[in-house]
């Protein structure tokens, strides 16, 4: 990913030019049909996540042990009360999928917030300061890169105990390193540019230079990377559920539903298919949007 993104964001020398470039990028984005599809999917997920209690009045944890594994309504044995059928405890799948979008959204955004903050800060510092700061960050990055991610996440969840925020922390702490690589490379080339030299000459402090001049210029690359990291986080959450380390079941999550449903793939396929589709469609949407953003922000490249 790093190489694909290198050169994504042509550095701009003043902020007005920056703004107009972003407007142009948005225009390009609006003309890209794939990106529009992606955007619509992401919007639907966002609406579900925010308005879940309004969209469905059913309690996602309400069980009905007399109606377990009810098939979807269009199949013999199904009924209108449960459009997509029910799971092994008789909970309504559609309701849980709508509520599950919350977990996916929270996980995706939080992971990007955690990983992005750590990674961008470290990347900016490493690229701008160089010297020992760069060396120390590079060493830590090496350790993190050499670590099998799944094992690290498993260990973290085992230490802290299960929970939504544990899952987020575990995935977040495995994602920062991606940003460091991209941001450091960008910063390295930016700091040689005239506008940075000008700011230094004008007596601007380092934090100011980092925040006002360098950060805005690496943001395009970070946004594109962040989009793909959201997608990765959603899939990762379901992998943790597979290993029995996911979000506790009273918080409906797609990963947890898919993981529970996998035992019924052969008998009550809907319990695995629909959460699986939800994950796939959401991730696909995010990925399409990410592709669109990348193309839009970097009209020259592929």
């Amino acid at each position: 990913m790093a190489t694909a993104l290198a050169g994504v964001a042509p550095p701009r020398d003043d902020e007005f030019a920056e703004a107009s470039v972003h407007v142009a990028a948005l225009r390009r984005l609006a003309r890209d049909p794939a990106a529009i599809v992606g955007g619509v999917i992401v919007a639907i997920v966002a609406v579900c996540a925010i308005f879940a209690p309004l969209i469905t009045r059913v309690d996602p944890n309400a069980q009905d042990l007399t109606a377990t594994l009810t098939p979807p309504m269009w199949i013999a044995g199904g009924n209108h009360a449960h459009v997509l059928g029910t799971d092994n405890l008789g909970r309504d799948l559609l309701t849980r999928i709508i509520w599950g979008s919350r977990v996916s959204a929270i996980v995706g955004l939080s992971v990007v917030a955690i990983g992005g903050t750590i990674g961008v800060t470290a990347g900016l510092l490493a690229g701008y300061r160089r010297g020992w700061v760069d060396a120390v960050i590079a060493r830590i990055t090496d350790v993190q890169l050499a670590f099998p991610l799944v094992l690290l996440a498993v260990a973290i969840v085992a230490v802290v105990g299960p929970g939504l925020w544990t899952v987020i922390a575990a995935i977040g702490l495995t994602s920062w390193v991606q940003y460091v690589r991209v941001v450091r490379a960008e910063t390295m080339s930016l700091r040689e540019r005239e506008f940075v030299a000008a700011a230094v000459a004008a007596g601007a402090s380092s934090p100011r230079i980092l925040a006002r001049h360098l950060l805005p210029n690496v943001m395009s690359a970070v946004i594109v990377l962040g989009t793909f990291e959201i997608a990765r986080a959603i899939v990762f959450e379901s992998s943790l559920s597979f290993l029995g380390l996911g979000v506790p079941p009273t918080t409906p999550s797609w990963g947890g539903m898919l993981s529970d449903g996998r035992q019924y793939l052969d008998t009550a396929w809907w319990t695995a298919l629909f959460p699986g589709l939800a994950i796939m469609i959401a991730v696909m949407g995010v990925n399409l949007l990410g592709d669109g953003l990348r193309d839009a922000l970097d009209p020259g490249g592929g």
């Binding site: 042990l65 405890l89 299960p162 506790p248």
Partner: protein, 510 residues
């Protein structure tokens, strides 16, 4: 694809590289019709029978090694193996006459010295065996002659020491010569099979022991092929990759029963699942009325029917009805919402208002452990009790339970291999037991009496007293015993046992 089909020779550069990389098990391959392949969820952790404590490993080493006396197929019944007869000499001494003419697979003769060595190996701190609890009541072992051993205990015990626990007999001379690391994967026992090869997590192949005292076994070769994922286990059986699978999820029962070459076999397990109240921690669960109300609120038959597909047996008491010590006249809780609500109101929680509980449960440890906890939580929700389920992986979960910490409600499974009530009471209700969150001096006193009582009728009366107190005080939500589901291919005939043991030598071609 044959069960153990000859490896195919494949052309093409890629596959030549692969074949080179692939360290295929060498050696001649047994014919399929004399082989039975068994798939559990995990592989054996060691082949030293004195170093393990888990059922899947006992199932493997049980083919290579033997005990003096083995658990029979029903509670309180024991089968002679390396011992042919036994008797109590006095309340603290029991004597076993050993089978003569038995040799280990390396030719060493089996004598009383091997029995003494096996017990002492476990007791020896240097070996750090997890089995020390199995021999805790054995003070020492005497060997008056090569074919007689005496187990001497510090206090009288109701069940013979030689029976109560799975102590396997190893070759003393071989163990001393080769050392612990070597014997861990070079087993030498007296059992009906000997090891041919073991590729960890792949397969463990055994051949019939021609010198076995028990005679001929129906399957010349027994193979253990672990498959962790339940769905993959079922798929392997359906495609002929294995002959017997454990822990079959109930939802496959129709396909496997009606399958072309598969059949479903089951048995009532000795394992029960329960939810305990932590009565040692402050909280609403210390209120007896709340505990009783919850027992009335939980609809066990509905859980068994819908979460286990009917494959379970509702229990009336922590002492299950297939255990020694069960008494049917002890009262039981039946699902009764009105009564639950009434008791809740009496306890000061009308309609469950203000009552929030956390239910801790392990994931992947027992059949449907997490789902059952969720179902119970759902039923408590129905009488207004807010219940949050907190599932955890086993080690972290167990550490928390063993600390008796922060778990108002916790789910555990319990299996007593000899199906004796003392195995439940002494480990789960006596105040000093690490897994007990209950403190009742009367129970402590009664259980100590029962553990030392040799007269069966008196013992039964003691357990009835215990069960009656436990009913009234309700330190558990009593749930159910599992019906263990196995599936086999049609070429194998086998009847499963309540203690979860799998023995290839008890199988016949079907």
């Amino acid at each position: 694809m044959g069960r153990m089909a000859p490896r195919m020779r494949v052309k093409g550069v890629g596959f030549i590289i692969l074949s080179v990389l692939l360290l295929v098990p060498a050696g001649p391959v047994p014919a399929a019709d004399s082989t039975v392949t068994i798939s559990q969820g995990v592989d054996a952790d060691t082949l030293n029978p004195l170093a393990t404590t888990i059922t899947p490993t006992f199932n493997v080493v049980g083919h290579l090694y033997e005990r003096l006396v083995d658990f029979g197929t029903s509670a309180g019944q024991y089968d002679p193996k390396l011992a042919v007869s036994w008797k109590r000499i006095n309340p603290t001494t029991e004597e076993y006459k050993l089978r003569r003419g038995v040799t280990f697979s390396n030719g060493d003769p089996f004598t009383s010295a091997d029995v003494k060595f096996s017990v002492e190996w476990i007791k020896d701190k240097v070996n750090v065996s997890g089995q020390t609890p199995y021999v805790r009541n054995i003070d020492h072992v005497d060997t008056p002659d090569p074919y007689t051993v005496r187990f001497v205990s510090t206090a009288p015990t109701a069940i013979e020491l030689g029976f109560a626990q799975p102590i396997y007999i190893v070759d003393a001379k071989y163990f001393r010569e080769k050392g612990n690391a070597y014997v861990a994967d070079h087993p030498v026992g007296t059992g009906p099979y000997v090891l041919r090869e073991w590729h960890r997590d792949d397969q463990l192949v055994m051949d019939a022991n021609p010198k076995w005292w028990g005679g001929h076994v129906a399957f010349e070769h027994a193979v253990f092929k672990p498959i962790p994922e339940a769905g993959a286990r079922v798929a392997a059986l359906r495609t002929g990759g294995t002959d017997l699978i454990t822990n079959v999820p109930y939802q496959y029962q129709i396909q496997l029963t009606g399958g072309q070459n598969t059949k479903l076999v089951s048995t009532r397990s000795y394992r029960q699942l329960f939810i305990a109240f932590n009565t040692l921690q402050p909280g609403p669960q210390q209120n007896k009325l709340v505990r009783q109300a919850i027992n009335y609120a939980v609809d066990v038959p509905a859980i068994v029917k819908n979460v286990l597909g009917g494959r379970g047996f509702e229990l009336t008491s922590p002492i299950p009805s297939n255990y020694v010590g069960f008494d049917p006249s002890v009262p039981a809780y039946k699902h009764d919402l009105a009564k639950a609500k009434e008791l809740l109101a009496k306890a000061g929680y009308p309609d469950g208002k203000g009552l929030t509980l956390t239910l801790n449960a392990p994931t992947g440890r027992y059949n449907r452990d997490k789902e059952i906890a969720e179902a119970v939580a759902g039923q408590l929700q129905a009488v207004g009790i807010q219940t949050t389920v907190k599932p955890q992986e086993w080690v972290a979960y167990y550490a928390q339970v063993a600390r008796r910490a922060e778990t108002p409600l916790y789910e555990l499974g319990w299996n007593v291999a000899n199906a004796d009530a003392d195995g439940v009471v002494s480990a789960l209700f006596v105040s000093t037991a690490p897994l007990s969150c209950y403190n009742n001096p009367e129970i402590d006193r009664l259980d100590l009496l029962a553990a030392r009582e040799i007269v069966p009728a008196k013992r039964k009366a003691l357990f009835k007293q215990i069960a009656t107190i436990l009913h009234e005080d309700a330190p558990w939500i009593v749930l159910f015993q599992y019906e263990d589901l196995y599936a086999t291919s049609k070429r194998v005939r086998w009847q499963p046992r309540g203690d979860e043991a799998i023995r290839a030598y008890e199988m016949t071609p079907g």
